[in-house]
Symmetry: C2
Subunit: 227 residues, 2 copies
Amino acid sequence: MLPPHLVSPRTLQRLPLYVSYLHSLPKDALYISSTEIAAQLGLHPVQVRKDLAAVGAQGRPRLGFEVQTLLRLLTTYLNGGTQHSAVLVGMGHLGRALAAHLGFAHYGFTIQAVFDNDQNLVGSRLAGYEVQKMENLVPLCQTLKPAVGIITVPAEEAQGVCDLLVQAGVRVIWNFAPTHLAVPKDVTVQDEDIAASLALITKQILGQQPSLVPISRKEESVRDGIL
Amino acid sequence: MLPPHLVSPRTLQRLPLYVSYLHSLPKDALYISSTEIAAQLGLHPVQVRKDLAAVGAQGRPRLGFEVQTLLRLLTTYLNGGTQHSAVLVGMGHLGRALAAHLGFAHYGFTIQAVFDNDQNLVGSRLAGYEVQKMENLVPLCQTLKPAVGIITVPAEEAQGVCDLLVQAGVRVIWNFAPTHLAVPKDVTVQDEDIAASLALITKQILGQQPSLVPISRKEESVRDGIL
DNA sequence: GGAATAACGATATTTAATTATCGATATATT
DNA sequence: AATATATCGATAATTAAATATCGTTATTCC
């Protein structure tokens, strides 16, 4: 019943994809098969079954998986049943987009405070949050104890902001600045590197790279049937 | 001399990381070793050497790799020596952030046109681009023939925009909307899924997932020495 | 009610990616 | 000039991920 304690990172990253696909299903759909999910998402049916098994889902022969049960399993697994707290530093366009987006609490995150060093922004309300001045960052974080610090400042300022967050006790950093951050080894940084994605895109354009979802000999016939 | 024609996706995604790290080096640094790069970026030295070898770099025993040569090899490999064209649809906060960001042409991309369906935005200049109305999308794309279509509209509108881009002949889609897009099989979609990243972040918080950069038995001593 | 079948779940195989090992080399040091 | 050593580059071993295979099951159709 309980999902195994170690789900591979690759599987983990696909889980939200299933959630979004399940949401797109007509309301009266009771069951969905791994075959169908795979065909729609361009994945391999066996991979889908393994991914779903990882969160403890079980299907029925000939029918597939119960949609609502599956959704529940996935979402509770993904946010661990609890809401996580975060602070966001840098209320430029990217920061505002993220703040508004994550504001949709169904991602399991709650933004507790947002910061910026622009005096014109400090004190104003953006995306529903009152922008705090940078001087408040360390003291506020020390009391709020956010689980994550989100960095959406220019590359040049990112390391400084990171240091402040670390100093304030934040141990997980989500870095959107296009630069590498040095942190103590008990702190983890997850880089959201657009350059890495661009690299893939570029190779897609040049057609020199294999597709991200490589088509195997066996699957070809299946995929041909999609469209 | 010429880089091998197939660089693995994982390697490809790390290349920009090396670029950014090399840029952060002091100007008078002539050589850099894979050992040092690995230590700073939290990677394995062998992996770094293999990655660099993939773009044709060669180092010197005891010294490492010539910084400037390495940078040149990486950047020319990454953008294939040419500039790529793109159009961007959706000039909300995310769209503006991307437009401004990619405007820095050193990513090898040129944004040819930006679109939005908000009449208040159409005609205005944002991030240096004059916002076009949606009606212009298909005809403009047919003449401009952009290599990539970037989608930064709300999830509900993404499929419609995607269909228009496909109709206009765009064959590579970079999708920032949190939804899965259905496309003909000669079109590739790269999803920039924030939910997938969030999934990793959440597991980081819960401490249930292995680190993204797992620490091997052998490397532990090296990493301990970083800080 | 019985046969046909679509889909599951478990196991095995294959492929990709990472990490380890080690000889060769060129620089620095004595 | 000789020696010690840091680093490379190549190959081998390991680990992780994806895909294939196949027996089982429960539904549907006859």
